[in-house]
């Protein structure tokens, strides 16, 4: 292992482990690092022209699903009597499920993904989790995002990749102005693109911020953070060149000014436009939320998955026929699945392992990892069959050309996710 040991107590420029941990919230409105380069649509597009991404570069789109997506309502074990027994009200009728084989089928709302399955562009890794599962949304999402189940660390797994991958601030781009912890490294972070609104617009009335970007010996800890944020704003301007106000137009979107509330369709719409505009970004991060369905789960779950299915299908269509189409892989995960047995409110409580979906031309389509048993349970929950670091390791190796041992504390054997 060549990665230097990480001191969990080491604060990183004011973003402490605790705030990092708290920040990866259920709502998806998560942490933000003051040093994060907020970028404008114009800046991103300009980079696509000036330094276009090399042809055939793999592009990862990472979808974080906040709230604990119910894996058993996503990839449904419709033929297993134990499934229907455990969830009499909640179970999907085998006739409604979109059959993938004679055991498993997709949620009825995921017609687009079912088509991708038959086109051999969908890989489903089953039973993905980590040792000693934690059922707290906050801690579990922190584990997924940092890639470190044993020890809390202040950096995200993609952030640590960015630390090793060079200086281009656009190497990774988060859609939304609030960075998730997964995109925060020690030296580098993803850039952040606001969706809709005009949050990144420069007005000219902010000359004073330049003066306030200079540290003063009298500054206390919080004032130093404020000054650092003003300085980061300036560095960002310098990196991308200064803008006139007419250049400052933001990314088109329907969010009404709050990047985090943008629909997944709007987020992926921007990603497709960036990709086709040759923006030199290797990793895009997007998010969806609302999966914490302790009650009346069935309709809401189907609605959420339908929305995701439509957004992903539209994203694939936007790339269809372009030179980048076969380079793009979208990967979706959630902090945990849910309890096998439904509760009395026709919902489910917090559980453990769940499926990870990978969509793209280069994935090895089909099932990977063993389907967890519905009867051999760990205190009512599914047993993990695939360590999530095996998935991360393969993505780092095969898509990002990185040595996974520099990013992850443990790299289990590859699953064989790529063709």
């Amino acid at each position: 292992m060549s990665l230097p040991p990480i001191d969990p107590k080491k604060p990183m420029d004011g973003l402490t482990r605790r705030s990092l941990l708290r920040a990866s919230g259920v709502g998806g409105a998560a942490a933000l690092l003051a040093g994060a380069a907020g970028v404008t649509w114009h800046q991103v597009m300009e980079r696509g022209q000036e330094t276009p991404l090399a042809s055939n570069s793999p592009i990862l789109v990472l979808l974080s699903m906040y709230g604990g997506n119910d894996g058993l309502s996503t990839v449904v074990p419709y033929a297993d009597p134990a499934y229907h027994e455990a969830r009499p009200e909640l179970a999907y009728d085998p006739a409604d499920v979109l059959h993938l084989d004679d055991q498993l089928g997709l949620n009825p709302g995921m017609t687009g993904l079912a088509k991708l399955w038959s086109d051999r562009k969908l890989a489903i890794v089953r039973g993905v989790g980590y040792p000693r599962p934690d059922r707290s949304h906050f801690r579990s999402m922190d584990i997924w995002q940092t890639g470190s189940p044993e020890t809390p660390v202040p950096t995200g797994w993609l952030g640590r990749w960015l630390d090793t991958a060079g200086d281009d601030p656009l190497l990774a781009l988060n859609i939304g102005e609030v960075l998730p912890p997964l995109a925060v490294g020690t030296k580098a972070t993803a850039a952040a693109l606001a969706v809709g609104g005009n949050a990144n617009k420069t007005t000219g009335a902010d000359a004073a911020l330049t003066a306030f970007a200079v540290p003063d010996a009298a500054d206390g800890p919080a004032a130093r953070m404020v000054v650092a944020s003003y300085a980061a704003r300036q560095r960002c301007e310098q990196t991308f060149g200064s803008l006139t106000s007419s250049d400052g137009a933001d990314a088109p979107g329907d969010s009404g000014g709050n990047g985090n509330r943008a629909s997944l369709a709007a987020q992926l719409g921007l990603v497709a436009r960036c990709i086709t505009a040759n923006v030199p970004t290797r990793v895009y991060t997007v998010s969806a939320s609302g999966f914490d369905l302790h009650a009346n789960e069935k309709d809401a779950q189907t609605a959420h998955l339908t929305e995701i299915d439509k957004a992903v299908t539209a994203f694939r269509s936007a790339l269809a026929g372009t030179a980048r189409e076969r380079d793009v892989v979208l990967m979706a995960y959630s902090e945990f699945g849910r309890r096998v047995r439904a509760n009395a409110s026709e919902g489910t409580d917090h559980g453990t392992a769940g499926p990870v979906l990978l969509i793209g031309d280069s994935v090895k389509a089909g099932f990977h990892g063993d389907e967890p048993s519905l009867t051999d349970l760990d205190d009512g929950d599914l047993k993990t069959t695939t360590d999530f670091r095996a998935v991360y390791g393969e993505v780092l190796d095969r898509m990002l050309g990185a040595d996974p041992t520099r990013v992850l504390d443990k790299v289990p054997a590859a699953v064989g996710l790529f063709a």
């Binding site: 952040a192 949050a199 009298a218 509760n343």
Partner: protein, 436 residues
Amino acid sequence: MTSTSWAQSAHLVRSTGFGGSGALVDVVDKQGAAAWVQQSLHADASHDPTVTATPAPTFDTLPPLGKGASREERQKRRQADREQVNELLAWWIRRMATAANPMVEKLTFGWHNHFSTSASKVRSASMLLGQNETLRALGRGSFLDLAEAMVKDPAMLVWLDGQKNTATAPNENLAREFMELFTLGHGGGYTETDVKEGARALTGWTVSRLDGTARFMARRHDSQAKTLLGTTADLDATGFVRVVLGHNASAPFVVGRWWRLLAGPGGPPPDALARIVAAYGPGRDLRAMFGALFTDPALVSAAGSVVVSPVEWVVGSMRALSLTADDATVRRAAAMMRSLGQVPLHPPNVSGWPSGQAWLSTAAATTRVRAATTLVRAADLHAVEDQPASARVEAVAHLLGIPTLSGRTAAELKKHVGLPPRLVATALVCPENLVI
């Protein structure tokens, strides 16, 4: 340059209220911090004309939609709910901005962050108002009463599915978050079994769809013995709260959570924690806890550790600039909070709002400048304008309750003394005004 005691009073004003205000700092400094804290903690708001001037709105309970309601009926109902929640939000902003002593509202806002409940799921303004009034009424009493009120609170029961929690199949949501986020903390000594047993203790509570009140229905309650944190008994909601609050991890967690809100992420030093926990005591006395917390020497020396949150900054600006809290101003204030990422009644999740760096995005810097420019337009700037140019930097520092300006900030502000609105707008975004 101001005196040490004025600087400490300025920090106390920012800790116990929304933003700074030289006028209030003068009052505190004259009275003495300890006496002012005690007086504020014991104040009866029902006799405060600046509070009674903003009576809480009343909301008609909207009739429940039938199972067969059409899509259009549902949309209409959602719209009606949203309008009521916006009215509730406007009222609370107005109350925060106009109460002469902001401490009660600051504590209420802190408890709202602690027992974080969002309109996104609860929807009912009447329930949200009920919870808000409970936080205000009990937020300086015993935490035993406050915590017990919360597990039986209609908005909380809806928010964390407590009303769906029955003996036949418990719903763990409320029990888990109560221990993880409200009383013990993650890793605070409870196990997955305690979550399940706690959920059983909390079974039986329902929320009426007709009048929005909470009711206990014995036949939905699990009356078998439960073993929670080592105690075995037929626990109900009251028993659950007593067992959890009796756990060793609870007092340090509650004190620690407030400490982090007021003094930043580091957590209290052990001696300060011991002092404040001792004041909190076996009665879980919140008034005593706040009294000890606000005057603890370790908190006093933590001045400058916390980044002002958007709600504190917007309300604080309204207060310092003596803005009239008319409908348009309050609407604009809500919009500013929204664009800065923190809207009361809409926390992002059950763990409350993030802090520190979360409020300091590069985008927020620009948004704040624009908001400051808007805020000063309607402001009473006499305290600055009436001074000769040479005294205006000092005047704006006093207006915002900033004890000491750095050389950097003073030099920048000096450039704007000829144009008081720009001077004040610039001061609103200076680093010294964005910290507690």
